[in-house]
């Protein structure tokens, strides 16, 4: 039996009896605040997209690119096979997505209509049609053939000419190139070229002129619909997998227990008993082993207090029930609570009181690595007449209260004397969270082993139906 209660974690390296994992978890809450700050930024993969034609490395002399860099015209007289007017996009196609797609519109098919659309590598010989050299592919309008590095092309689709909208795409899931004409797919071939690929357009006879669309305008082909149907195919295969019956109910139950949503849990238990047929949650044993109903009422109460902004009462309750949590005034939990009190004062316009409180309780965190940036951002609330419209608006959101409530919840759970090794972060995550993390890492790992190509699992996208 402990003679003195263990101090809670602090950010400046005090790991007295909390293993590294416990500290990581509490620091995790600070990271979550940093994540909130970025919430408006699109959750993209950080890849730059092709937006226009590259005039620097194009086959200048044979062609001319328009000032807006979205159309190209062949200016030469076609004499032989090494005076093709080839131009690539300014950036390679992104790879961390399901597909990439772009289109050309043939404004003028010139004398011989020898226009091509395809993909090439950075080192491509810019005097040859895409597909006439290895590590390139091209769909040619004069014969409708697909060329992919061998001398001869193969019959592939229809020819295309003036007023046709022709598209070229990459499907990273199926590892294929696909091409479209006037809104319909004409064919696909396996993609066996590795590395970054540039969308490429070529013109080869006098007066040929082509407009290029990298997505600024609506495509003739319904690429979003295509992506949706590809995802559906995968989804249909996944739906066939069988899982234990009623497992969803068990996971929801343990989730509610873990976070202390007691009232919801009671309503949920009642509802599942009254369902026809009654839902039997098989994991009663698992739930008991976890002892996840430890301090349920207290956790519920503390959560309510924090969510209502009653921080003083919350601190008093913690002092009374779990003094070990608030013993170290420089711990993450104390920081979050004091921060929240400050926020609540600002929220109701009590700025002077806020400043005093900040001096008293928050100033000590300035200069502590791990806290400084957040303290500064928090203090910034004072500078705005309408802080909810400022860059630090997220502090005023309900989600911030929820975050603090979660931290308090985790701290209380970690006082459970019955659980060995409570500080390991895996014990402080609900089962549902563990499953979601595993799902994400498996997808990321698989993608990484696949040359980083393709989509990865994003809970937010799934919840929004990938919109």
């Amino acid at each position: 039996m402990n003679s003195s209660p263990p101090p809670a974690n602090s950010a400046n390296g005090d790991t007295t009896n909390n293993g590294e994992n416990g500290q990581d978890l509490n620091l995790n809450f600070l990271d979550k605040i940093r994540l909130s700050a970025k919430r408006d930024a699109k959750e993209d993969e950080g890849e730059e997209l092709p937006t226009e034609l590259n005039t620097i490395n194009s086959a200048g002399g044979f062609l001319v690119v328009s000032p807006d860099k979205l159309s190209v015209k062949y200016t030469n007289t076609n004499l032989h096979g090494h005076d093709v007017g080839v131009v690539q996009a300014n950036k390679p196609a992104p790879i961390k997505c399901l597909t990439y797609y772009f289109e050309i519109f043939v404004k003028d098919s010139g004398i011989k209509g020898q226009i091509a659309i395809g993909f090439t590598k950075e080192s491509f010989k810019m005097r040859r049609q895409p597909g006439w050299e290895v590590n390139s592919c091209g769909y040619h309008g004069d014969d409708g053939y697909l060329y992919r590095g061998q001398g001869k092309g193969e019959p592939f689709g229809p020819k295309f000419t003036k007023d046709d909208a022709v598209g070229g795409g990459i499907n990273y899931a199926s590892q294929e190139f696909f091409f479209t004409k006037n809104g319909t797919i004409v064919g696909k071939i396996p993609k066996d070229i590795r590395g970054h690929l540039f969308p490429t357009v070529a013109v080869h006879s006098q007066n040929e002129e082509v407009l290029v669309n990298f997505g600024k305008k609506k495509f003739a082909f319904d690429i979003k619909g295509y992506e949706a149907s590809e995802r559906n195919k995968q989804q249909l295969a996944i739906e066939k997998i069988s899982i234990p019956p009623n497992i969803g109910y068990g996971l929801v139950k343990t989730y509610l227990l873990h976070y202390g949503y007691e009232e919801t849990l009671d309503a949920f238990n009642l509802a599942t008993k009254n369902t026809v047929p009654p839902i039997h949650i098989d994991q009663e044993n698992a739930i008991d082993e976890d002892d996840s109903s430890y301090a349920l009422k207290q956790r519920k109460n503390l959560r309510q207090l924090v969510r209502n902004g009653e921080i003083d009462t919350a601190l008093a309750e913690l002092q009374k029930l779990y003094p070990q949590i608030v013993q170290d005034d420089k711990s993450v939990v104390c920081f979050l609570l004091h921060c929240q009190k400050f926020i609540e004062l600002v929220r109701v316009g009590k700025l002077e009181e806020g400043v005093n409180y900040g001096r008293l309780e928050l100033a000590k965190f300035v200069g502590l690595t791990g806290f400084q940036d957040i303290v500064e951002d928090c203090f910034a609330l004072l500078a705005y007449e309408k802080p909810e419209e400022s860059s630090v608006w997220y502090f005023l959101e309900d989600s911030q209260r929820e975050l603090v409530a979660d931290a308090v919840n985790a701290a209380i759970l970690s006082t459970n004397p019955n659980k060995k090794d409570v500080q390991r972060s895996c014990h402080l995550q609900s089962h549902l969270e563990k499953l979601l993390r595993q799902l994400t890492v498996c997808c990321l790992e698989r993608r990484s082993l696949n040359g980083d190509q393709g989509e990865t699992f994003r809970l937010r996208h799934v919840l929004n139906n990938n919109r």
Partner: protein
């Protein structure tokens, strides 16, 4: 092989938003129709339900009516909710009428059952071969004194009521532009699939027990 330590580092590096997990749970409660639980969850967590909770109560009333064998009542309620549902769902409407017939037979109201079958169901059967076959199967129940000897006795089973209730529940959800299944089970299947896919290329700690999420060391 990816060690447990390396793997746990990756797991902890994932950015998972609490609000997204809350949304997933709310989606479950709402789709299953647990109104009170959804209300409480909204209060305790601040998560907004994705559809109006009042519509859930209506939907659950319909489901309950069918589960209790009060099909006429259920049909009335569905039409109150949205008359287009049955109009645009002939198969559902037929199944509801068929359930009504089954209930009449169950109650021993033979004459009424026959009248109902002839007036309401036979015309549908004429339009549609599949309906006709279903109708014939149902009417066959009348021929047997002891239903337990009837080859189509599963129609009398209470589970058939649940099947019909489920069908109407799904149709209402669809009419409200809501998916008829909660997302959570799909994600669990996705996890199994993702692990199987990754097995082709790497050795790493698995989660084999979905109910606990316990991480197990890479097996030999």
């Amino acid at each position: 092989m990816i060690t447990r330590e390396e793997w746990e580092k990756k797991l902890n590096a994932v950015k998972l938003r609490k609000e997204d997990m809350n949304t997933l749970v709310m989606n479950f409660l709402v789709t299953e129709g647990y109104v009170e639980a959804a209300e409480k969850f909204q209060r305790e967590s601040g998560t907004k339900p994705e559809i109006d909770l009042a519509t859930i109560t209506d939907r659950m009333a319909v489901k309950k009516a069918v589960q209790n064998g009060n099909v006429e009542d259920a049909i009335e309620k569905v039409n109150d909710l949205n008359p287009e549902i049955l109009d645009t769902n002939p198969e559902l409407f037929f199944h509801l009428q068929q359930q009504r017939l089954i209930e009449l037979i169950r109650q021993g109201k033979t004459e009424e059952a026959l009248e109902f079958a002839q007036e309401e169901l036979a015309p549908r059967g004429e339009e549609n071969q599949a309906f006709l076959e279903e109708l014939e199967k149902t009417v066959a129940l009348l021929v047997f004194d002891d239903a337990s000897t009837c080859p189509v006795k599963e129609l009398l089973d209470l589970s058939h009521r649940l099947k019909t209730a489920s069908e109407v529940n799904a149709a209402i959800l669809t009419s409200q532009s809501h998916e008829k299944d909660p997302k959570l089970p799909s994600l669990l299947k996705m996890l199994i699939w993702a692990q199987t896919q990754l097995d082709e290329k790497a050795v790493y700690p698995h989660i084999n027990d979905l109910s606990t999420g316990k991480l197990e060391d890479p097996s030999e």
